[in-house]
């Protein structure tokens, strides 16, 4: 496993540079950045409507569920991440080629939809919710987890056909954005408390690894550092701006 949050870790008190160093010495060593990480998550949205937020939160909670390994995509703030992506350059295809004509093409020719990601979400969510209302009598977010999985599996594989957008296309976009939101730097609104990085054992913003890179097979259990941590001076940095990682050791 990665360093799942259920385990107990204690501070080894060394940095990636190897020095015993002047570190902030937290009283509870289990989570040295806990104070910073506990900020209230943003609940405001710029593109998605409230029913759309409910859909996205419910869907991403099935794609990456909260379980014994730790929080899932919903807890990570992936809905907030997706909203911010949709409202920005990516959601409006600002850096993509948008001239027609728009035949669908072969799978090898890639993205050929005239829809922007904003429109894909609006149409896709609307149609899936309408379908759920017809089949189950309620919108997607009110279904049981088993029913939600059934719907998602129907979209992934194309068994459920949608009218305004290909179901597989919509699902692939939702899944890709969910993974991005779970693993991107928390500055984008997802990966709250760096739960995605903690799950897999990724340290985030890199330290100087010169002294560690050839320590073969030795685990590197660093408290992950985000861009925000550095800007807020929660993480200390060296002269080049690389964070001094705080390494944890498993307490057995």
């Amino acid at each position: 496993m990665g360093q799942s949050s259920g385990r107990r870790w204690f501070l080894k008190s060394v940095t990636a540079l190897g020095g015993a160093a002047s570190l902030p010495a937290p009283a509870s060593a289990a989570e040295p950045h806990a104070q910073h990480a506990a900020r209230a998550p943003s609940q405001t949205y710029m593109y998605l409507t409230q029913p759309e937020v409910a859909f996205v939160e419910a869907a991403v909670a099935r794609l990456i569920p909260a379980d014994e390994l730790g929080p899932g995509a919903k807890e990570a703030g992936v809905a907030c991440f997706i909203d911010r992506q949709l409202v920005g350059a990516w959601g409006t295809m600002a850096k993509m080629y948008r001239q027609g004509p728009w035949p669908e093409g072969t799978p090898q020719q890639g993205y050929q939809s005239p829809l922007t990601p904003q429109q894909v979400y609006r149409i896709g969510i609307g149609e899936v919710n309408a379908r759920c209302a017809k089949q189950y009598g309620s919108s997607f977010s009110a279904l049981t987890p088993a029913q939600q999985d059934e719907v998602l599996r129907g979209l992934d594989g194309g068994k459920i056909e949608l009218e305004g957008v290909r179901s597989q296309f919509f699902f692939n976009m939702l899944l890709a954005n969910t993974l991005e939101g779970f693993f991107a730097d928390p500055i984008y609104g997802g990966n709250r408390d760096k739960v995605g990085w903690k799950l897999v054992g990724f340290p985030g913003v890199a330290a100087v690894y010169t002294a560690h890179v050839d320590r073969h097979g030795v685990p590197y259990n660093a408290v992950p550092v985000s861009i925000q941590d550095i800007v807020d001076n929660v993480a200390q940095v060296d002269e080049h701006g690389h964070p001094k990682h705080i390494l944890l050791t498993r307490k057995d």
Partner: protein, 587 residues
Amino acid sequence: MATKLKPVDAAIVGMGLTGTIIAKELAEAGLKVVGLERGHWRDTDPDFAMPYVHDELRYVGRHELMQDLSRETISFRNNAAETALPMRQLGSFRPGEGVGGAAVHWGGLTWRFLPWDFETRSRTLARYGKGQLAQDCTSQDWGVTYNELERHFDRFEYLYGISGKAGNLRGRIVPGGNPFEGPRSREYPNPPLKTSYAGALFKQAAEKMGYQPFPTPTGAVSRAYTNEYGATINACVYCGYCMFFGCEMGAKASPQTAVLPNLMRQKNFELRTHANVTRVNLDAAGKRAIGVTYVDSRGREFEQPAEMVLLCSYVLNNVRLMLLSGIGKPYDPAANTGVVGRNYAYQTPSSVTLFFEDRVFNQFMAAGGMGMTIDEFNGDNFDHFGLGFIGGGFFQAATSGSRPIEVRPVPRGTPRWGSEWKRAVATYFNRSFPITIQGACQSYRGNYLDLDPTYRDAYGLPLLRMTFDRRENEHKMSLWLTDKAAQIAKAIGPSKMNVAPRTEKYTIVPYQSTHNTGGAIMGADPATSAVNKYLQSWAVPNVFVVGASAFPQNGGYNPTGTVGALTYWALDAIRSRYLKRPGPLAG
């Protein structure tokens, strides 16, 4: 109406790896040089500064340093029977944009193509006979040999401070290096990078099987190094944000770290950013370039007269500018005549991913080009009798930077989402590594570049149209090579392996490599090449076309080292001969 500017001696289109070197050398030779770059100015500070440069979503997911497709893209189809459609978002390859070009976000691997690569056709025919080549294969000799290029490879490696270990010093095989490489005149300028755990395991297994592993040569520089232009490249700190990123340490060789500090001090040189060249202007007879036309960030059109024009943009744009400007005869695949757009080729990458239950690899501690390689199965380093293909590729246990948006391998058969996926990604993110195979790609009659009849760029000009698929030669090669790599992987002892040869129809969607080649190929015969052996246009001799666009087919290596060598090779001919007496250098 275009504003006509004061004439210059040389107009260079594109300020990437080749354009910056050429600008520096020509300015130093006393020419008045203008460098035209369609993107922004970029430098280590502040553009690649910490902590913002360690942002995987921005640089990998959203292509911060790469071409803006809203202005210009290509169209693509697998074969001429299909209708090409525009590449609407980046996928298979990621051309750069801005000062430094793709050499800002490159991965650093710096190879010399094998002597065999430069004589692919004649050596294949000599050893195997005609039957070894597919009927429609148009792979050919380059018109230049490894021996002619050697000192130019050397100069480029010393400019970019490449870290590596020589395997063949003037014909003497040196332990620890690549015994298959062509003879080199001296050792690399810098020692290899450190060896990762993945590299160490690969080395051990490969040696046991009788192979001769060596550290991958790379422009992620192992120690502080000052080059002939007085530029200092710093020591790599193995941060793992390398390929697709700019380097905050100034430790990755690039125009920014190796050339620009000197170039920007040259009094004869002027850089113009946001200058998008739309055509090379020719005289009434179409035999001589009289300058270029470009559009600036405000939409104003300028005409820059010049005595010579050097196309130094990415492969695809070099070819497109030739086609838009009428430099050379466009290739016609039906008649197999014409030269511009001919022999477009690519790469045939494949991989084996190894999964372990009890070993951690810390693959996020990494550098571009950090790896352990074997070259036994590249080029013609092995007997191809009875195999039904030519070419090969190097195998590398790669430690190039694992970040979880892009790199989170799970064993084949794992669901794509849900708790089972989550458990797998948590287990294997740090317990896996890949062996990658950089397979070669031959050229074929049906693979080519021309202008799209339908789709246009932001200036109303036709997009470049790519018609491409890999062939049986590439598929057979990939199966055979990947199986060989899987045997090494097995000897390392993983609990599971994903073996992924490249046999499917080429698709423009998933990232494969930014190693597009050809379309303005070099050669000895003007009937089958767009530029001569000095990268000079046969049709318009005061135009030079520099870059991997000159490769007649692609070898089983990353192209940058050979692009660098060709740059100095062409410059040598320009400085020593062309400037004294402008005119055709060959034929």
